[in-house]
Structure formats: structure tokens, C-alpha cells
Assembly symmetry: C2
Homo-oligomer: 111 residues x 2
């Protein structure tokens, strides 16, 4: 499975994860599902504030929601997290020396 860089879903996923509180929520939900109120309480956020975060996570499909009576249960959708993992995973971050390759490139260009 290939995850191209030009995927709009990847935009939404990474945007959703580019926030400490939302990463906190993702982490929390990686341990167990929760209700919206529980999330608000445990992350010191007002209900309207948590609501907005949840909408962003939901739009990115990082979470799923199910309403039971007046209670909203939320769970992590880790399949979506895998898309981000796949994209970043294709880059080798171990065997490259940035400054060296830059200096090298520059001196080759200056010939």
C-alpha cells in the first residue's frame, strides 16, 4: 500500500495531529474509549473546546463516534494513524548526513 504525499486525507490527519491537546486525546484514546465529557474533564478543556478538537479528529477519521442516548462515546481509529505512519515510514532517517550531503551538493554545483 502506497501513501502518496499528495493525499488530502494526509493533510487532515497531520493537521489534526499537529496539536498537543489532540495528540493527548489520541494517546488517551489509545488506552481506552471515552465519552466527550470525560475527554473534556481529563484534558482541562471546556465542552465547546473539546467539541472542536473532536470534530477535527473526526474529519480526519482518526476517531469514530457513537451516540447512545445523550452520551457520545469516542474511540481511536488506528487504521488512519497507519496512513501517516506509512507516509513518514518511507523516508530513511538513519543513514543520511544532512550537512555533508549539502556541502557535497554545493561543491558539485560549483564546478
Amino acid at each position: 500500500m502506497i501513501t502518496p504525499y499528495d493525499s488530502p486525507q494526509l493533510d487532515m490527519i497531520l493537521e489534526a495531529l499537529a496539536n498537543q491537546k489532540r495528540r493527548g486525546i489520541v494517546h488517551y484514546l489509545s488506552l481506552q474509549p471515552a465519552t466527550v465529557s470525560q475527554l473534556a474533564k481529563d484534558h482541562s478543556l471546556s465542552l465547546p473546546a473539546i467539541h472542536k478538537h473532536i470534530r477535527i479528529l473526526e474529519k480526519a477519521q482518526l476517531i469514530v463516534r457513537k451516540k447512545v442516548g445523550r452520551t457520545n462515546f469516542v474511540a481511536l481509529n488506528s487504521k488512519t494513524l497507519q496512513l501517516a505512519k506509512d507516509w513518514i515510514g518511507q523516508y530513511n532517517t538513519r543513514f543520511s548526513s544532512t550537512s555533508a550531503s549539502l556541502e557535497n551538493y554545493i561543491s558539485r554545483m560549483r564546478e
Copy 2:
């Protein structure tokens, strides 16, 4: 090495990657360094536009820059990419069934 969810650098890294064109630039630079003008040309962006993208990537330390004369060379700093990899990597995305765990949690809560 632990990458906690509440890292401000992670905010900047993921924010920088949450954009198709910047991921395109990252991909491009993963193959070889380039100049600012080359990036603008090969990504159909004006110089002011590419400049802003570069600033965001630079702020996140995803790239490094070196000025030689009037030419600006840019290279990928893959060490920073590793931080994002580390954070996402800690989540198991293979062996969890979201809906099942949610249903399960709900029925346990309703007892």
C-alpha cells in the same frame, strides 16, 4: 528515546508536514538538495510562496539552508523526520478493531 505527545517541536513538525506542497518539497529534497529557485520552479510556486513554505519547514528544523553568494541551497534534515516517526511509531495500528472495542466499551459501561 521517547517522544512525548506534548512536544512543541512535534507541533511544528506535523504542522509543516500537514500540507501537500511541503510534503512534495520534503520528498523532492529526500532525493537531493536544491536551491530555492529550483524548488519554486519544480513545484509551480512563486518565490514568495515557496519562501513561506521554506520558513515553515526551517522553523520545524525539517530542512537546513546554506547561502552561497546569492544562491540558497536547501537540504532535508531527516533527523527531525525521525521525531515524528518516533511519536507515531509508538501506536500499534495493526491489532486493534476500533468498532469492536467501542461496542465492547459501551456495553461494559451500560451494566
